[in-house]
Symmetry: C2
DNA sequence: ATGAAAGCGCTAACAA
DNA sequence: TTGTTAGCGCTTTCAT
């Protein structure tokens, strides 16, 4: 049971100042005598000392705690983001408080309010609505807020997000190149600014390739969940029910629903279907298909967000310009080889290429 | 910028006691006059009031904060566990501090120490070693600790874990029934008590079915990661390199490595291979195969852990008996129908069964 | 029905 | 080189 500074002072007969000085390793700086130092250090070695963080926070008006508010921590992207943030925080002596909102604005307000009441020094939030915490968080709050992942236009806060436009542009280009003239975009929650960017990227790539009717190829649904993915695929299949040569999903949840529905409607996931999706995941490897996915850089997003937060922006009226973090296009499987199928499977070098490279740990 | 109780008292001319009474809604209980109540409430409505949590903690010697220490928050199981815990905590006015250890005992000690220094009221930890925090956390710590997910034998702490033995038993039984006489168990980190239970379940099922040489079918590797999964599959394949009729993976990471390696060695994942794995995940649906997975009940684990923690066990010398939470066997795909393959694919009712049921949101 | 005051453990400013 | 003190905002106990 460790002692408080005052107890140590009382027991050793020195003053709190002295104790504090040696406890903080500032002994020689303030020329504490060697004997004093010895006594105090022995005492601490014996009984231990841990600063009382509550008292410290009360005095310093600072908790060394930051809050993270995300739609859903069990979403792999947010879980990785949190992991990175926590690592960064720990190395700076900060601690991370996390809350999930499940895409519910009311829960978001609640979470923000609760974190604020806990006295977090700042918050990083992936909002599910146009962010405005002035009512929640007080007017002149000394509290820093940075928005991540959902770059709502005109936000009063510093904003960090992936470059979804370019990611989508490159993904769509590549799919069109490999898979033919058209592809469908199964798109959940199109009102979200990050998704809107993905739609813009999709349309830009379509127009590049002369697909002027791109609007007919974007299928939308409000909810980003598995059942919506199934519905979207149904709509994309259309009347004939032929499997599409390729499709792009706005999220992994949509992809789950789409593949499920494809199995129901077509009986299987055709090997020649090219699948594009946002958010990379190792388990995409389970699909036998050619899969192109857009990987976000969680580490860079986390680092940028924390940096922005800590530079304590004076919360100036014009927030700093948004930061866009580059994505990476990940390719899995191989472009489908129609010739090989006609000849039947071969156990040769060509087949060895199916999965190349060592799996990474 | 909300006010403190004392500011409100000063500004309204009442005493802090009065303010506190109405702020806590105990006005009528203590028969505060209606006019007083009115004044105070108006003031609070106008300026706001949020308790200063640091001051409260200092006074109460309690932070209403609990810590969660897990090997890796980006592991889907732990992410879901955390989500459940956070939800439960919020409804009780608690807040959750989470730290990842990346299976490193040093980081685990660091995390525990750091949370302890933050004054958490209790900790839930999924340890990567025989847990012993007496040095870290002080002797007579009034701090509750409950161990989750890794039921180390003889631990001094209350322990909650899935019933991995039964889960493994049922999984292996079913695989043997569907897939023939033998199956391999690709097993990472066999020293971990939860994995040891899974091995015991595997062997019990093997013995039931008369597979006395089960020891030869368990392939082990210390690290639970993707590259280990690949190595394990290599070893299981043996000299002939024929694809196995079935195999079981001790974790999703192992499965990722194993499927990857299977593609390299065999050229593809044979449709008739039956795959068993621990930890269920929606993306297992991506595999065209028959897949059986053992789903842990994160909600029940979280609830049990929090309950144990909050009942403040006096930390009696004999810890309470471990709690085992039942798992659920999840089946995906269909048992492979060899006859259907010989006849070629059919677009009929039988094929419709491939994926049955609506996808769940 | 309302008020006064002590003290939780820490830090910072000032003293000696 | 070491000591003293005044709060930070809250809760609790004891007075009115």
């Amino acid at each position: 049971m460790p002692k408080s500074i005052e107890e140590i002072a009382r027991d050793t007969g020195f003053s709190v100042t002295t104790i504090k000085l040696v406890a903080n390793g500032q002994a020689k700086k303030y020329r504490i005598s060697a004997s004093t130092q010895q006594v105090v250090e022995d005492y601490i070695r014996r009984y231990g000392y841990v600063v009382n963080h509550a008292a410290r926070s009360l005095r310093l008006r600072r908790t060394d705690t930051i809050g993270l508010v995300v739609p859903d921590i069990s979403n792999a992207f947010f879980a990785r983001l949190m992991g990175e943030l926590e690592r960064l925080c720990r190395s700076r002596g900060l601690v991370l408080l996390t809350a999930s909102t499940y895409e519910d604005p009311a829960q978001e307000d609640l979470a923000v309010r609760s974190l604020w009441a806990r006295g977090v020094d700042g918050m990083i939030v992936a909002p599910c609505q146009q962010p405005n915490y002035s009512g929640v968080v007080g007017r002149k709050a000394r509290l820093g807020v940075v928005i991540i992942d959902r770059p709502y236009a005109g936000s009063r806060y510093a904003t960090i997000a992936s470059d979804n436009f370019t990611g989508s542009l490159q993904l769509t280009r590549e799919i069109l190149k490999e898979g033919g003239a058209r592809t469908a975009f199964l798109c959940a929650n199109p009102e979200s600014p990050s998704i809107a960017d993905r739609i813009r990227g999709f349309s830009a790539a379509c127009l590049e390739e002369g697909v002027s009717e791109w609007r007919d190829l974007v299928f939308r649904t409000p909810e980003d969940d598995v059942s919506s993915g199934a519905k979207l695929l149904d709509r994309a299949l259309g009347r004939d029910g032929d499997a599409p040569a390729s499709f792009i999903c706005s999220s992994l949840l949509v992809l789950e629903g789409a593949t499920h529905q494809l199995k129901r409607r077509v009986g299987r996931i055709p090997a020649e279907t090219i699948i594009g999706t946002f958010d990379d995941h190792p388990m995409l490897d389970f699909l036998p298909n050619r899969v192109l996915s857009v990987r976000q850089n969680e580490a860079a997003l986390a680092a940028a967000a924390l940096e922005r937060l800590l530079e304590r922006h004076g919360l100036a009226d014009p927030p700093p310009p948004p930061i866009a973090v580059a994505c990476e296009l990940v390719r899995r499987g191989r472009p489908f080889d129609h010739a090989a199928v006609l000849q039947g499977p071969k156990q040769d070098a060509a087949v060895q290429e199916t999965a190349d490279g060592e799996p990474s740990a």
